[in-house]
Symmetry: C4
Subunit: 241 residues, 4 copies
């Protein structure tokens, strides 16, 4: 009996297992879509109660799924404290503790449940390539992260001394100036903080011309490492053929 | 007779075929240019009527071309329901259904007719290289698209919880916050929505430093795959020589 | 006599030739710096007249240099109508035609005279590598330029239909919307034009996610081609050693 | 005695040396964090005095460390005028000259003291790879820096002539327009300066489409050179194994 259930819950081969899997995955995606919709202001009553009902139904199904997974697990305690076990629990817990709004944020943890999706597909291949690519440039990424943090630190300190007297309400302190440094070096440039003094503008220009290289290099490294990994996989595949 | 026409309409070799091709292409480009001009406010009457007349003339010629293409096609039904057949029809239909403004948008479909331009040139080569490069990184692109969507989802949910109480009119709901997430992670940063709380700013900084890598990597992958394809083509060419 | 002059004006080897070259180059750089300074508002009189005097002196020297170059050229007519001959003429002409402000813009043509700087250094090497790299990806660059223009066309048409009724003063026409498309797809995002309707925002998000790849790929291609050229040069150098 | 001290201050092997190193490093990091916090406005008294006390304590320890390093150095004069010797001095000097705000900026020099951190780890490896990668593209980087500066010059001159009459308060002069050119070509786009005339907008679009390539290429080159260096290192490592 439990063997049969295990085949459905954990297996992939039988039609019943496939149907179980798909149902849960679809429900995860739907509950992830329903979650932001609930935050919409001025929702008509029918929509709000529809979303709440769907929430109740899906949590019930997730609970049944969770209990089934414990039931069929060979090492039950092990499953409960495994990564997926904890994620499954966190995904339903907020509903039971409170139906209020305060715990809604934790519902985002359901996102992690989507990781199961990756198990289904052969994208595991792409993911493992990605992981290997990341590993091969680990040192460079750490180095550039440290350099980036130091650069943002220096830029924030510098702009504070240039702009503080001209815009005391905007560049209130160095920690406040970090916001400017992040918005500028990532080239987002919202326009809520920007230098107005000549010194501050020259400083910004210099910071930008040096800093863009520092901030953008990790992305380039990552793309190159991934391309390299893709190339190797292709070569392997063509050798295998 | 039809063989002769076919040589003109579908062929490329004879001067008549070349003249036919060039006329249609030039007309497509001109009608694509005239279309935005019509939307200009305060157009003088002569300009407006000139553009309308040009529209009428070009649609007439496109209609004749369309009928000719049906006539000379070996498989007429097949042509009508082919991609180019439908595009040719869609490009003239709005004019006949209505001369009003409501259907003007569909006129943009003429853009697809420009695809024929590609047939003319040896750029087909570059296009096919591009297609092959895209195919070789298909899995990575799909993976990153999924990750990007999930990342935007998480960023929108997060910023909503940080900023909602401080700016209830701006971050009205999670779906509203998606606009912020897109404008920020693409580094466009219009400046219409941005965080004002300390929590929201710290969250934005973290989201940016992680997210830039995710959003920018596909472009890097694409560029690398294209460069690789270009290199291979050159090696082939130098071998052939 | 002319042979001696030629050695000074066109040569590089003798100390006199070197001094002549350096004087002219320094003067070009200085006159390029003085040109923007003249546009500063509220300049004190002494500074304004200093800059005007420097301008007169430098144009005089440039004129002498120009006449010398004609004098020593083996093919005098050929030099006058050569690229550098025309640039040299254009760099002094505005001063003689008028001392007024209207022709100041043409003074920027002196920038081209800086190209001579490149002759001096071994950077010619880097330049020729760059030219070769550009050539190797010519087709891809042209293809992407065409696709970019078409994409901007489509984006402008689309946003016009979404935003026109909500912001008739901003998205006045499709040509006006091109400005939005350029500012958005290059991720500059000044914040003077942005969509406010839900449709326009969703459209912008889609346009951005597709368009960033298109607009950013040429840069990636260029960087890769240059890197490839650099690698080849290094391999050649290490073989030669 | 001095030998024993030297082992603690300069060595790495003994537990005492390790403890000394870690204490100093942690203190550097903490004093770097405390420095921006002091600039926070409306600090409660206890926090302000806490930070000042910590500053005094850490400078005392840094002074003792500095004196110890001089004491144990084999070439004492050499150490004082070495890079690290000067950095160590500059890091404590501002405190002694004045407790006032004017010298606070120099305290940022302590950042350089973090360079010692690099000595500890094997990140030296990544740093040396980075340095080699930088060297291999030195010529290209210099060429692109020159071209970028000239391009910003041209862009500033151009936009001045297009926008000056429409926005005399914003595009006051060519030097003022450089700020626009930098903010635009780095795609930051704060939104404090942007063209409003048709000519200025068309000019901006052209400048952007050409300029993005120029400004972004160095980053791409750097990333590629680093990737290449990483690849070589890996190949060496796999050969060594």
């Amino acid at each position: 009996m439990i063997d049969h259930l295990r085949q459905i819950v954990e297996g992939r081969e039988t039609p019943a297992a496939w149907a179980f899997d798909v149902t849960v995955q679809v429900l995860i995606v739907l509950s992830l879509i329903s979650f932001p919709l609930e935050t919409l202001p001025n929702l008509p009553d029918w929509a709000y109660w529809g979303l709440r009902t769907f929430e109740a139904v899906s949590v019930t199904i997730f609970t049944i799924e969770y209990l089934l997974r414990i039931l069929v697990a060979e090492d039950r305690i092990g499953f409960i404290f495994s990564f997926y076990g904890l994620v499954d629990l966190l995904a339903i817990l907020p509903f039971y503790i409170s139906a209020g709004a305060d715990f809604r944020a934790i519902r985002a943890v359901r996102l992690f449940r989507l990781l199961r999706l990756l198990k289904l597909a052969r994208y595991t291949d792409a993911v493992s390539h990605f992981a290997r690519a990341l590993r091969s440039i680990r040192e460079e990424l750490i180095l550039f992260s440290i350099v980036s943090v130091l650069f943002i630190y220096l830029a924030s300190s510098g702009i504070y001394y240039f702009e503080q007297s001209a815009q005391p309400g905007v560049f209130k302190s160095i920690p406040h100036s970090i916001w400017w440094a992040v918005a500028t070096l990532t080239t987002v440039g919202y326009g809520d903080v920007y230098p107005v003094t000549v010194g501050g503008k020259v400083f910004t220009a210099i910071v930008l011309l040096i800093g863009l290289g520092i901030v953008a290099v990790p992305t380039g490294l990552l793309a190159n490492a991934l391309s390299e990994a893709t190339k190797k996989r292709e070569e392997n595949e063509s050798t295998r053929d």
